[in-house]
Point group: C2
Chain length 307, copies 2
């Protein structure tokens, strides 16, 4: 439903360009992401701190996807009247619950020196909802766009993919610093963050650029958690890496010569402990394909996690 709705919104006369992870308004970046109980977290499985952290981190990841600097945020929340069935077993007083959600945001607020610009706190009979609007600023080097990809660009990611549901969805590090480094020092043609699965998000990036892509199956970096998960689900670890949501790694396309240097020198590794992986190539034809080690090419299934 979301894709269809976004298409509608994009066609509105008063909509700004909605094809990127954040809107560019003058020198400002704007993005909003909402988390809902039961979809993005379960109160009886994770502490409130993790929920607060995730709510902030997913928004930071959108600013990273644009290659910008996050500056601050507004947070609106709907808190259940009664906080029962928490991970700690019992009920939590509401104010304490709110404080613990906010405490989970604090390390990221301090790390990126974010300002809290405003908030709206509500209580209701429903589940927990947290909505954050993040602001950022555009660097002199400009912003990353999904639409800037060029045919023959190398496709890179900033980390391993898949199985995020086991751990990474709550502890991933938004790739702010990596994006800023790449924006300053490299030629990045296009970028986005992988939030709905590599296959679906690459499809979106390629579509915005008017291109297709070939992914090299054996080059796709797969998390240990994707292998763990595959034992339970019967899907292969590769399928998890292609279709699981919430990796929150950057998907970048750069000229081939740039990619060769980046993959050889790995400038993000010593600086931020982050490894870049080359996983494929943008193509002039508009197909999305997967190529195995033997060179056999097949269509890339678009299954991804659609919110």
């Amino acid at each position: 439903m979301e894709l269809e709705w976004v298409q509608k919104l994009r066609s509105l006369p008063n909509a700004s360009y909605l094809g990127d992870d954040a809107a560019v308004v003058g020198s400002a970046l704007l993005t909003t992401d909402m988390l809902t109980e039961g979809v993005d977290f379960l109160l009886n499985e994770v502490p409130p701190e993790w929920i607060g952290r995730k709510a902030l981190a997913v928004n930071l990841s959108d600013i990273a996807a644009m290659g910008g600097v996050p500056t601050g945020f507004l947070v609106a929340a709907a808190l259940p009247h009664k906080i029962g069935n928490t991970v700690s077993g019992g009920n939590l007083p509401l104010l304490q619950f709110a404080e613990r959600i906010y405490a989970g945001m604090t390390p990221l607020i301090e790390k990126y020196n974010l300002t809290l610009f405003g908030g709206d706190t509500n209580t209701w009979d429903g589940g927990l909802v947290i909505s954050i609007t993040m602001l950022g600023k555009v660097l002199p080097f400009g912003v990353f766009r999904r639409s800037g990809g060029q045919a023959d660009d190398a496709i890179l990611t900033t980390g391993q993919l898949g199985g995020s549901i086991l751990h990474k969805q709550f502890c991933f590090e938004p790739r702010i610093n990596e994006a800023l480094y790449l924006n300053e020092h490299c030629t990045v043609h296009s970028a986005m963050d992988i939030s709905d699965g590599l296959a679906l998000d690459l499809h979106r990036l390629a579509a915005e650029s008017g291109l297709g892509a070939v992914l090299d199956e054996e080059k796709i970096p797969i998390t240990d958690d994707a292998f763990t998960l595959s034992k339970r689900t019967g899907k292969t670890a590769l399928e998890h890496a292609l279709s699981d949501g919430e990796d929150f790694e950057l998907l970048l396309t750069v000229p081939q010569v740039e990619a060769e240097k980046l993959l050889a020198k790995q400038p993000l590794r010593e600086r931020f402990g982050t490894t870049l992986y080359g996983i494929g190539t943008l193509t002039a034809d508009k197909k999305l394909r997967l190529r195995n080690a033997a060179g056999v090419v097949r269509d890339l299934p678009l299954r991804g996690f659609e919110h």
Copy 2:
């Protein structure tokens, strides 16, 4: 709970000043307001268009309270998987439901030439939640603050109060144009919008200004709906005007000479059909009081609608 929580947030080292209806960041205004099903609307009592309109209008009212120009917004929504029990009686397809919510925003989007900067649409098992972040810009004349009130200022409102739950909560006109006119042509010392009831909101404005206030009981303009409601509730119409939430009129304080001119000339009436009412005076002592026609003064009860 919200007051206590807001106090906590305001004390955080990384919080911007949170005492006004919107944050001032450079020349930008930022505010966020979230509506939740069962608190701010009932799906079986109002059409989706009204919900969309209200979600946008409450945020516009915050920009009006600052005397600024609204420029655009981001909207995040949690939509119930199944839209049953609507005012139209039956289930609505989800996309149609979303479209109708947005359609309710369209007249205000066009009237104020707002840009849609972004959105996040989610579906879940819970009720409907809509969260909007509104941006505005500061005029060369500056912004209205709650903290700018001066002793002996006249207290004005832009309309009658009370009983909003019957109709006005969904059809009120955010006082954008009134605020812009007053900002350009008059001396406004302090302002906010009345969202949680006159008594509670005046208490907040006076507290931010380090002052008290006396309201003239017989001058408080009371809506017909407050009288209608009082027949059902046993409360007086005045009590409704003092304590009902969601009036979304502006509460302004101006010098006495300014007030005399404004109340005599009523410059907003021919321009926008809006009448200004003088309802009291800010006082150097920090008490909040109500004065009746006979000059008898009593404490102002702080009952208001606290979210």
